[in-house]
Amino acid sequence: MITTMLDDFMVRAGLAGIGTALAASPLGCFVVWRRMAYFGDATAHAALLGVALSLALQGPVMLGVLAAALVMALVVQALSGRGLAEDTLLGVLAHAALAFGLVGVSFLSGVRVDLMGYLFGDILAVTRSDLALIWGGAAAGIGLMVWRWQRLLTTTLNPDLAHSSGISARVEHLVLTIALAVTVAVAIKAVGALLIGALLVIPPAAARPLARTPEAMALITAAIGSLSAVGGLGAAFQLDTPTGPTIVCMATGLFAISTIAGRLVRRDG
């Protein structure tokens, strides 16, 4: 029965969207808490460079994206704190990666590349093997975050506090970097390189007014992300709009609602 369900492209798309949202939720919380939004963008834009490289080398796209995102994140980490302000550095690297990726793809004359698919995602074209990769990547990313959760939280609060308990802030930063690369690789099919940043930041921002603890915020983020994915998919189907952007619009709507609700509740309390 499950196999016949997976024959339906809408079911596959829904599962891909939920998997992506789940993968992005704990990481997205840290992106918000640590003010890493630009870092997420830079990593995501590098993904396009990874697409170009893997097509040129005729390797699996998701592996190329994973490698490029990881390299980008490590380069940012290595260069930060050495002269240029962080946002300038990230701006340079993010746009450079996007531009070089676009130029690189244009050189691939032999293959027909669906560029729009990689920029904005093509969730309706998700295959079964894509689905396996998305859920496998999501499981790996979430597993990594759950394993390091306490350490990551302590480091986020204060690196010195972490060091005094024998936790290396550098190692934990590396954990986040790897999780980010995995999430970008997972998400590129669903929302595309340009909107991964939105999926990382908007659901946690929407969850924030509703949560009292970090764990609650991560769970609410997962719920809001999944709701956005399924709702956006349905809306895109009804309205015949591009799916990835519709998912992001849906998440933004939920963000607006929760922010207003949070304000009202706080006024009463």
Binding site: W33, L161, P214
Partner: protein
């Protein structure tokens, strides 16, 4: 027994040497205070001791299994991270509700467990930081200007809480503070820093030392006589320039 020993320790922050050739140690149960002008390397020394700042020269040796309870200057809490006091106390190790309540009692803030960290006053916040450090069952409690942002009565109350806690736990205490006369009175040993160890000894010895007077003036009752030295000073002369 030596808990922690720094030997010939030299530390750099973003390429600049902030502290050189430091030899110091802390024994079980003693209270050691770091004093010195702004930028003299007090916080850097603490970062070096807890391993947050790797030495460019020299070494730090800690007793095997040493438990450090660290109270930072402050935590930057913005509105983005929701965190109740009891959740904060469980970082990085989880504790039972009983243990948390005991720590909050010891720190003098028994009723705050369910509050958001962000909603605390300055004094409450520092005491919650202290409670978290106590939950580590520390051999060594490190306080890095833990009374920054508190008024003088608040700071005095905080230090008397520290004295009580130490009497109960028999842990060593390493403090950095600007409130010289308050902390020095309570210390077994004082280290005066200014890019290196200027002088050290009992509070009385240090207050009489010419190096200390060169930094803080002869009338050491003035707890807030903090100068900034932008050049390598000369201990023998009192007519150096202040930036």
């Amino acid at each position: 027994m030596r808990l922690i020993t720094a030997t010939d320790l030299t530390l750099q922050q973003s390429g600049k040497t902030v502290l050189r050739d430091v030899d110091m140690h802390i024994d079980r149960g003693e209270i050691v205070t770091l004093v010195g002008p702004n930028g003299s390397g007090k916080s850097s020394l603490i970062k070096g001791l807890i391993g947050a700042l790797p030495p460019v020269k020299g070494r730090v040796d800690t007793l095997r299994g040493l438990r450090i309870g660290y109270v930072p200057q402050t935590l930057h809490m913005d509105g983005l991270l929701p965190l109740t006091v009891s959740r904060f106390l469980c970082l990085p190790h989880r504790h039972s509700a009983d243990a948390m309540q005991r720590a909050l009692n010891e720190a003098g803030v028994p009723d705050l467990g369910r509050r958001q960290m962000r909603a605390l006053s300055g004094g409450q916040f520092q005491r919650v930081l202290l409670a978290r450090a106590l939950l580590m069952e520390p051999d060594l409690l490190i306080l890095d200007e833990a009374t920054q942002g508190l008024d003088q009565p608040g700071a005095a109350a905080f230090y008397s809480q520290i004295a009580k806690v130490r009497a109960q736990l028999h842990c060593a205490v390493l403090m950095v503070s600007h409130d010289l006369h308050v902390v020095m009175a309570a210390s077994d040993r004082v280290l005066c820093l200014n890019g290196h160890v200027c002088c050290e000894g009992t509070p009385d010895e240090v207050q009489d030392a010419p190096e200390y007077r060169a930094l803080f003036g002869a009338g050491t009752q003035g707890a807030f006589a903090i100068y900034r030295h932008d050049h390598d000073h000369n201990h023998d002369h009192h007519d150096h320039h202040h930036a």
